[in-house]
């Protein structure tokens, strides 16, 4: 087993473990920490995929910002969510079935139907991926980029307006 495989398995394990904590843990704060763990795993996967920039951005945005937001929300709504409150609704059983079924379908497709459907290109990495990324963002994908920025602005204003004390 090569190092890459080992690292991949480790990272996937971390990711999925984090996800597991998120969906099962009764204690919301721990769930949030599980989320952080999972984010780290994903960042590692990015690094393994030679997307160093995305890995770092993942840490910066998700771990540094979004999970903090979530933790804040947990704090602010803490009173109703005492640690003993039941965390799963009535349909958790069927939900689990559905999720498993979906995973089954996707997994089956991946393993037996779509396996090697994608022409894995032999061309190596571009020598300056970050530069290329920046260039693509402002040339080919200028429109999505702008739209995303507008979205961010609107979300910012909207969040402030919604959450402000009347």
């Amino acid at each position: 087993m090569s190092i890459e495989q080992f690292v991949f398995i480790a990272l996937s394990a971390i990711t999925l473990l984090g996800g597991w904590i998120v969906i099962t843990n009764r204690n919301l704060y721990r769930a949030a920490l599980g989320l952080v763990l999972s984010f780290f795993g994903v960042a590692g996967l990015y690094a393994l995929l030679d997307a160093g920039f995305l890995a770092v951005v993942q840490v910066l945005i998700y771990v540094g910002a979004i999970s903090i937001l979530i933790i804040f929300a947990i704090m602010l709504t803490r009173r109703v969510m005492d640690r003993t409150a039941v965390q799963h609704n009535a349909q958790w059983g069927i939900s689990a079935l559905v999720a498993l079924a979906l995973f089954g379908v996707i997994g089956y497709t991946l393993l037996f139907r779509a396996a090697d459907q994608w022409a894995v290109s032999s061309t190596g990495l571009p020598e300056k991926p970050i530069e290329m990324l920046g260039e693509a963002l402002v040339t080919t994908y200028a429109l999505p980029f702008e739209v995303a920025s507008v979205l961010l602005l609107v979300a910012l204003v909207g969040a402030i307006v919604i959450a402000r004390e009347k």
């Binding site: 009535a90 349909q91 939900s95 559905v98 079924a101 379908v105 139907r113 429109l143």
Partner: protein, 745 residues
């Protein structure tokens, strides 16, 4: 500089035309709105500049047409290109003959109406509107939308400006959103605005589908690419499979989808219901949006994409043209019959607008391209004139009412409808300028020689007749059909026009208010006179002998020869109709409270007409009642069942349906269901509306069906998003599983 240089110079400035009103809008909204005078002037200057530029461009292009007509082609000037990953959208504007012609009409009419609005919104009087500046901001934005639509060189920007206009029309119809009426059946401005918005939205969605289809097939939306010969050939010969209709040429499908948008905007038959109610808006708005410009945008769209419509000739199974012709002709007749029985002065005009738009659509349907555009232009002028005239009348009568009310108190409370023609009469002496200009407009509408309306309408009829006699690629049936219906409609038009004139202006005043009415301020009457002038002379440019319009836009099409039979017949019908109207209403004018003689003679038919063939009621019955009833059941039922676990394990398909009802509930909570219902039904219904018996039958059957469905769906609607989501996911899984199980094609 030489002519060419000058032309190039101005053509490259075209993009400024929509910009000026937009600028005015921004300035008024952001800065000038506290100051009424300033706002007025800003709006005027904005549209005025557009007007000057527009006419400059028109006359320059009139100078040498051949530069504009293909092959040298319409002048697309790309402004910028939006990279969208694999492809790029080219946004720009263009000047071709059609644009130039529209630039003759739109800015001028807008300018007139802007000037008129100053007086109508009561500038400097006691009754000045509290949202005066906002009104000017809105109409400026609207002007921006219309002008942008005219100059844009691709379907995308056209659609964007189209939607801007839709927004403005919503805002302006509901401009007096706080107004409410004593009788609950009468629709309030707020509802009317929503109704218009939602009804047109139906058409717009269809049109958007058309755009998507075209973009997916052509990979571009600019007119140059889409309407180029090779593209059209490709679209004409490539076919798509539709569930029911089998394989259809792409061109036909795309054209029909686009036409859906046109139907919504130009209030053609199934989607016409919003236009009459749009009269709840201020009268300048009715004139600007719902007579002159916006409603003609639909016709403009069809004219603009006429190559696409004509790609598959009628004789070779070009269904789209047949549909266009049928819808247009039918609407023309249908609306003109309704107009006979309306008492609201503005509603009469609204229905006549619908029917005139029907004329244009029908004309396009049988390939009378020039005639349609010609009628579009003339109609814009005289219909704007008529609306402004009616507005002036209403204004006068309202002021009269105010005086009376001030004279002896106690009258204030009693509901007085200044729009009702039965409350008018004898205004000819009270407000002569308005009256005479109105009569000129009416003559033009009825098609009296040599007023503008006559020539354009006659050209349509003549073309239809011509096609019928030796029609090549439009067959003979549709031209005859169109000709027949339009001719009848012409007679009716003349009749209700003269009815309107007689009821309003002749005879003796039937109310105190009418007695005390007096002429409107000059800022209102001057536009009337200018428009009247154009209504007088505009037709003379389009006479069959020296047809400037043909010279301008139609070199590609062969001119319609003058046909004495058609011309004589339509003249006779027009004069006869007007005379008949005079006989009925003018000879011995109605006294106060006297019933409309038409009512006596036609009896139940009149009632049907008066209620607009019960179309609204039909939509009401088919869609809205059952839904309300159903949701009440749901509500009752959920109340008992919400706690129950069962909801979670109910069958997925049914829950999926129940999501839809959940959305309806939300709508009902907002009290919008009427409008949604009518709009929604507008697609569904293609019934023979004349037969109320059938209507009842349908209502019952639909009711039963929904009741059955309701019994089935009761337990499923919990209002919990997670329940819905789980079902959505399950469905997804099922679909994926099917893909896996079934052999992948």
């Amino acid at each position: 500089m030489t002519g060419v240089e000058m032309r190039e110079f101005f053509f490259n400035l075209t993009w400024l035309i929509p910009l000026f009103p937009l600028l005015a809008f921004a300035l008024i909204v952001l800065w000038a709105n506290p100051n009424r005078k300033l706002s007025t002037w800003l709006a005027w200057i904005g549209i005025g500049l557009s007007w000057l530029l527009g006419w400059t461009i028109l006359f320059l292009s009139w100078g040498d047409i051949h530069h504009l007509t293909p092959p040298e082609g319409n002048h697309p000037v790309p402004l910028w290109t939006l990279p969208t990953g694999s492809s790029a959208l080219k946004i720009g504007f263009q000047v071709d003959t059609l644009t130039a012609l529209m630039l003759f009409m739109v800015p001028f009419v807008c300018l007139m109406i802007f000037i008129y609005s100053k007086g109508y919104m009561g500038y400097g009087t006691a009754q000045v509107d509290s949202r005066y500046s906002r009104f000017f901001a809105y109409i400026s934005l609207f002007a921006c939308g219309m002008l942008g639509l005219v100059v844009s060189d691709n379907l995308l920007t056209l659609f964007i400006f189209w939607e801007i206009m839709g927004l403005c029309s919503y805002l302006l119809i509901g401009f007096w959103y706080e107004k409410s009426y004593p009788d609950p059946k009468r629709i309030t401005p707020k509802e009317a605005g929503l109704k218009a918005f939602l009804t047109t939205r139906v058409g717009d969605v269809i049109m958007l589908l058309g755009l998507l289809l075209i973009y997916s097939q052509v990979g571009s939306l600019s007119f140059m690419d889409v309407f180029s010969h090779e593209t059209l050939d490709m679209l004409a010969h490539k076919t798509v499979m539709l569930p029911i209709f089998g394989s259809v040429p792409v061109a036909t499908l795309a054209a029909l989808l686009l036409f859906g948008g046109a139907m919504g905007k130009s209030a053609q038959f199934p989607l016409h219901v919003w236009l009459p109610d749009a009269m709840e808006g201020p009268t300048p708005v009715s004139a600007l949006i719902h007579a002159a410009t916006m409603v003609s945008a639909g016709v403009y769209l069809v004219a603009r994409s006429f190559p696409l419509f004509a790609a598959v000739p009628l004789v070779h199974g070009g269904t789209q043209l047949a549909v266009v012709a049928f819808i247009g002709a039918f609407t023309a007749l249908f609306a003109s019959t309704i107009a006979l029985a309306q008492n609201d002065i503005k509603r009469v005009l609204a229905f006549s607008t619908i029917s005139q738009l029907g004329y244009m659509i029908a004309a396009l349907g049988i390939g009378a391209y020039i005639a349609a555009v010609f009628h579009l232009i003339t109609h814009a002028f005289f219909k704007a004139l008529l609306f402004l005239g009616s507005g002036s009348v209403i204004h006068g009568v309202e002021h009269g009412h105010h005086e009376v009310a001030h004279g002896h108190h106690g009258h204030e409370e009693e509901a007085f409808d200044a729009n009702d023609m039965m409350n008018m009469g004898g205004l000819l002496s009270k407000m002569p300028r308005t009256a005479w200009t109105f009569i000129i407009g009416g003559g033009a509408l009825a098609g009296i020689v040599p007023l503008a309306g006559f020539w354009s309408k006659d050209e349509i009829l003549a073309h239809a007749w011509h096609e019928f006699q030796h029609g090549h690629d439009f067959g003979t049936f549709w031209p005859l059909f169109v000709w027949l219906l339009l001719t009848i409609a012409a007679a009716l038009t003349a009749f209700y026009t003269s009815r309107q004139i007689c009821l309003t202006f002749l005879g003796r005043p039937r109310t105190e208010a009418a007695k005390h009415a007096h002429e409107s301020p000059p800022s209102m009457t001057w536009p009337l006179m200018l428009l009247a002038f154009f209504a007088l002379i505009l037709g003379l440019f389009g006479t069959p002998w020296a047809n400037q319009y043909h010279h301008l836009i139609g070199e590609a099409f062969e001119a319609t020869p003058f046909d004495p039979f058609v011309a004589g017949l339509s003249t006779a019908l027009a004069v006869g109709g007007m005379f008949l109207g005079w006989l009925v209403y003018g000879r011995q004018p109605l006294a106060a409270g006297e019933v409309d003689p038409l009512k006596r003679w036609l009896g139940p038919v009149h009632k049907v007409l008066e209620n607009k063939y019960y179309v609204d009621e039909l939509y009401q019955l088919i869609i809205i009642r059952p839904i309300i009833w159903l949701t009440q059941i749901f509500a009752k039922f959920d109340y008992d069942w919400v706690i129950n676990r069962i909801v979670n394990f109910a069958g997925e398909a049914t829950v999926f349906v129940s999501e839809r009802w959940g959305e309806f509930d939300l709508v009902i909570v907002d009290g919008l269901v009427n409008l949604v219902g009518r709009a929604g039904a507008a697609i569904a219904t293609g019934l023979d509306v004349f037969d109320l018996g059938i209507v009842d039958g349908i209502v019952n059957r639909v009711g039963d069906g929904i009741k059955a469905g309701g019994r089935f769906l009761r337990p499923l609607q919990t209002g919990r998003v997670q329940n819905y989501l789980i079902v959505a996911v399950t469905t997804l899984i099922v679909i994926l599983g099917l893909y896996l199980v079934l052999p992948i094609t």
